[in-house]
Point group: C2
Chain length 457, copies 2
């Protein structure tokens, strides 16, 4: 056999891209096929993502559809879109023919509606076609949108020997057998067993006697994210999907769940940074602007609000006190930082189902935490201002208002995500610019009011 | 069989906790066992996380070690630590006896060093003990730290029939058979096959003839995060681990990878929010303070810096221009927001291996993007200031400096994570407070300088 290659080492290098490009220019198809055959299809997809579009199309048309169908599922979404635009509906149908039903339905769902029908009608395998059409009917955010129709199913009345015989037939269509699902004659899920159970059992035993009946499952209408969470929690590699009557409809495998968890984490991360719409570093400037500008605009409006507040405080403020305004950026920054910290802890806790107990207890805890942090920071600020400006009362005013600002910012940062979550709104929008901006404004108002009071202006 | 329960529905309710508590008070062990037997061990762990500590210990001592060992692996780390403190080394060794080698090694590694030896010495199964000791020697951030010794291994020279016979023996110790690994007589990994391949093959065929030789694998010293990435990329459910001589040492399964990916995403999210040390919403106020205060302190020092800068600009500034300072919070907020956005995009791109090409190209792209966003926002700010203050030159000064501030903030936010990544430092620390604070200061300096220039002060 060939020399084995550690998979960690794959990198799309400039040399590799150039080598591929040269084979294409010289139309040396044999060398190109040989070169690419060394790589995993996910790696070939990475190569195609980096190639010029014409070169990518050349390779897709060169390789057979068994290989290219896998490559296509792994491409960047925008590259895939462009490639599919350049394939005929017949060619796409051939790719679809090779894919598992879940991947097939995902690809078809990405096509413009006008082409979807044409592609489906050209799928030759009637069973595959019907299954894909069934999957297309489910919302992509549900268990139905994640599941595949490929699974291995046996009846409780069969014997181990009969079961093994029939599985040999079914398993050919199923790339990975995780569990064998046991159904009643009405097709209702009644248990499961592993291939291991089967090959370690005696051949005359009845399936219903060796099957485990504590089978985990989800409903086809369950939320995709919830499904991902329980598969991660129970360490499941596959889970069967049933309808309200317990009829076995399909199964979801862990590789799809890894993608769901990853997308969810990426989305929350982006929202915390003030970015919407699931963009990537390689997207166009226009796409990135669409994702970023609205949040910046929110920040701008907040900054204008802060200015207007200070403007109205200014009139009637004696000259000697106007130095208060020079600390406004400090106060706003602290309010923003504390708010982001406390909201992030809550958002992450909610995502991991770690946040239990009453809202009141959370708020009390956050208040104590913020007070502790606030006192430590204020002592430092007091010492600095007292020394720098040699004015103890002034230092006291700023430090005490900083404590108040930090406590309020912590409470706002804790309350808003909890409140949104209770109302069924994704709390992740309440991190980042949203919380920073509102805390900037609250912070500056509290700061100026308390300082005025202490200084007796 | 019992009524099947949709797994999505499990919740630790107050009623459930009370019911458990009552059974403990009345020492009704039979009812308690019956109640808990309905739940998945991961759910029982959630119940224990919420119970009083004495109640949790009561349940752990009540149930048999086959059940409790699984529960213990799923507990919150701090609850587990307290429970293990209350078990004798003999009792812990009994739990360890039931666990797969990877979980067993993880639990032992969490114990105080003084107890580790005592627990290991009381493991009765000598093979299990030796394997756990081997695993304890690997760094937890490497493939060796993730892998388990449990796997199914066959020799290339065996026949399918002989193989099936021997696998029946090996598979009893392996909870899930993903792949069967084929080794040479020197124990070097030479291929793999699935159980499916085996049961669909003819019984007289030779293993080396039906095994796939393009087996993916990782080296025992590879970084855990890299392993997680390639398993996710290649949709692998298990990957074999070898040493430098290609000797098969163990295998890593996808459930461990899901945890690694999740921890990594959580860590990056927290860093972006200014939180270190992997804390949770339910941690103590002191732990949360340790994780949050240092970042707030950084923000405070930045705020003081901003004050000092404005203080020095102030002297010599005519009264009419001091209104410039009232826009400082706006400028700082915009600089902070843009910096966080651009750094988050880069950090996420680096985490997903999406960031390719030269640093210069990235910077040029970010400059164009920031300029576009800056112009749109500045036009709005210009209109507001011109109307509110009826001073076009002043409005122009502020708007133009805003564009400059946004561009610089975008460049800083792009450059710093790329620079840290090149130096081998985790770029995730460069999001959140770090970038906000530095951009606050840069922003205010640029703003005041450009405004002074335009206003001709």
């Amino acid at each position: 056999m060939e020399e084995l290659q550690d998979n960690i080492q794959f990198q799309v290098t400039d040399e590799l891209l150039e080598q591929v490009g040269q084979h294409i220019v010289s139309q040396d198809d044999k060398a190109l096929k040989l070169l690419l055959s060394d790589f995993h299809y996910a790696d070939v997809a990475e190569i195609l993502d980096e190639l010029d579009f014409e070169e990518a199309i050349y390779i897709i048309k060169l390789l057979d559809s068994e290989t290219t169908s896998d490559i296509i599922t792994e491409l960047d979404e925008d590259v895939r879109e462009k490639i599919l635009e350049n394939l005929s509906t017949k060619e796409i149908a051939e790719e679809i023919e090779e894919l598992d039903t879940d991947d097939a339905a995902d690809i078809i769902a990405e096509l413009p509606e006008s082409r979807q029908e044409a592609v489906i009608s050209q799928i030759e395998n009637e069973e595959h076609k019907a299954e894909i059409q069934e999957l297309l009917a489910y919302d992509e955010d549900t268990a139905g949108g994640l599941m595949a129709k490929e699974l291995v199913k046996v009846y409780g009345t069969w014997t181990v020997a009969g079961c093994l015989r029939r599985i040999r037939g079914q398993a050919k269509d199923v790339s990975r057998v995780h569990s064998i699902y046991v159904v009643s004659k009405e097709e209702k899920l009644i248990g499961r067993l592993s291939l291991k159970d089967l090959i370690t059992a005696k051949s005359e035993e009845k399936i219903s006697d060796i099957a485990k009946d504590n089978v985990d499952f989800v409903n086809v209408k369950d939320n995709a994210e919830d499904v991902a969470k329980i598969m991660a929690k129970y360490d499941l590699e596959a889970i069967p999907v049933v309808d309200d009557e317990q009829t076995l409809l399909g199964r979801i495998t862990i590789d799809d769940i890894v993608d769901v968890l990853k997308e969810e984490a990426d989305k929350d991360y982006q929202l915390a940074a003030g970015i919407t719409q699931d963009v990537e570093a390689d997207d166009s400037i226009l796409e990135l602007t669409r994702a970023r500008l609205p949040w910046l605009f929110l920040g701008l409006v907040g900054g204008i609000g802060a200015y207007v507040i200070m403007h109205f405080f200014e009139s009637g403020l004696a000259e000697e006190f106007k130095v208060l305004f020079l600390f406004a950026p400090l106060i706003a920054a602290m309010a923003g930082n504390v708010g982001v910290q406390s909201s992030a802890i809550i958002v992450q806790g909610l995502a991991n189902d770690d946040v239990k107990g009453s809202i009141n207890n959370r708020l009390i805890k956050e208040m104590l935490l913020a007070a502790l942090n606030g006192v430590v920071l204020s002592v430092f600020l007091f010492v600095f201002v007292a020394l720098f400006k040699s004015d103890t009362l002034f230092a006291l005013a700023i430090s005490i208002s900083l404590i108040a600002v930090i406590i309020v910012a912590g409470l706002v940062g804790t309350f808003i995500p909890l409140f949104l979550h209770k109302r069924g709104i994704d709390p992740a929008i309440a991190t980042g610019p949203f919380i920073t901006t509102s805390n900037d404004i609250f912070g500056i108002i509290i700061y100026l009011m308390i300082s005025k009071m202490i200084l007796g202006i």
